[in-house]
Symmetry: C2
Subunit: 245 residues, 2 copies
DNA sequence: TTATCTTACTTGTCATAACAAGTAATAACA
DNA sequence: TGTTATTACTTGTTATGACAAGTAAGATAA
């Protein structure tokens, strides 16, 4: 507790190793919620680094909601939440896997098509260019929970026809297509299920679903994936943390 | 463009002044989307500060999604979005006001009560201590959009009986009660409206509503406000940005 | 006793310095 | 001509140092 593991991540920056070490301590319960953590000076000594490195590690911990600071008083551990990393862009299986759920997907259809006006404006493509539409049903412990309709620009989408779409799309884009994903814009609203979605999700038509639109960009800001996600209201909950000001 | 205004914020830290100056330039269109911004060296010269200060300003701009960086290439302006500040903790009127909506609230009830188990565990209080429950209906352009049920620890809640509850609660907590708000945990799900909520919102029982739970902490991490927010599904959309990894 | 001051410790801000690492254009070489 | 090195510029990481500002506890003075 409170030292570099010097294991398999010696290639990582120091501040990242320190962040991970402290994160492990916090999540492992060595620092109880609201308990004071070692001061920056103490961390400098125990890790043998300068203050700027300690502070960078603490900044990342703060960004993950694991600690909070009070000038003049110190740094304190937050109450750890299983949901706190939901503020990062994750696919369905990525988010559910570590929680012990069995996540899978079934491909309903994949085709080239002429994009709607909304898809055109989101992906920033012309109607004549066309897009690739992928429709899938996602399962959690064999229960259907969402219908995902994804639209890709034609150059990206054509590469997907030969891929296995039964898992998450984000890792596929990152690893097999070598796309570096950046930020995403998400909107959520509650709306009634239409007949098609109700059939695929095995619920009643008109029952509440969480209707999510998600536009994912690469790290240069170019759109790579626009999705409609329809979650069954009784099986899915979206959680995250936000900061004041 | 590219200099400190030295106006009314000379008390703010240098990096914050620089952040605001650059933000104004970006939002003002001086740096078009995907256009290269001045390098850190150039910003050091033009603002007359050290690199650590420039980088701290850039870090905040990055956090707001206004810029992105590429090692070896430079710093670039992102495409500005009207929705990007939704990732910060805001009340209803705060969020809607700048968009030209007329937001108001009607107080349904305010009372001391024995908290439920969920409210107890969220606010971290004992059953014998009691809490204050505030129920309000929120309107947008005179249309009801949400039923807000808020629970406060007894010491905070008792101060609310004499306050005007027709606006937002967050500014009230901050200004009149001198509470410094910190982070909040939010969860969203779609569920059917019960009879009581349907009546207050003027919609059908069973129609989809967005069910939001929000636990707000002060900047020291102590919970100050736990709320159930029931939004009419056809009038509310929740939007925000998230980052990959 | 009560109020004020000092002191020590905390995080917050900022400067100067150096080197690593990724990128892109140019220069040298085959 | 085509390929490889060099070079200059970019952001990324880290060290050392200093002072500001907020907090809390103990010492001092009223």
């Amino acid at each position: 507790m409170g030292s570099l593991s010097s294991g398999n991540m010696s290639h990582l920056p120091l501040y990242m190793q320190i962040k991970e070490a402290l994160k492990k301590d916090i999540l492992g319960g060595h620092y109880a919620p609201y308990q004071k953590m070692p001061s920056e000076s103490e961390l400098m000594s125990s890790f043998g680094v300068s203050r700027i490195t300690v502070r960078q590690a603490l900044r990342y911990l703060h960004g993950e909601g694991l600690i909070f600071t009070s000038q003049g008083k110190g740094t304190f551990a937050s109450k750890p939440k299983a949901t706190q990393d939901v503020k990062y862009l994750q696919g369905f299986a990525e988010a559910m896997g570590p929680k012990g759920y069995e996540a899978s997907a079934r491909l309903i259809s994949i085709r080239e098509m002429t994009p709607s006006r909304e898809v055109r404006s989101r992906l920033n493509v012309l109607a004549k260019d066309g897009v690739v539409e992928v429709v899938r049903v996602r399962y959690l412990n064999r229960e259907p929970v969402s219908v995902d309709t994804s639209f890709f620009p034609i150059e990206i989408g054509r590469k997907l026809f030969s891929k296995d779409m039964s898992g998450d799309i984000f890792p596929l884009l990152e690893n097999e297509l070598r796309l570096e994903l950046g930020h995403a814009e998400v909107s959520l609203e509650a709306r009634p299920a239409d007949a098609n979605i109700a059939k695929l999700l095995g619920c009643d038509s008109g029952s509440p679903i969480m209707w999510v639109q998600r536009l994912t960009h690469d790290r240069f800001g170019s759109p790579v994936d626009f999705e409609y996600l329809a979650f069954r209201g009784d099986t899915y909950k979206y959680r995250f943390q936000i900061e004041r000001s």
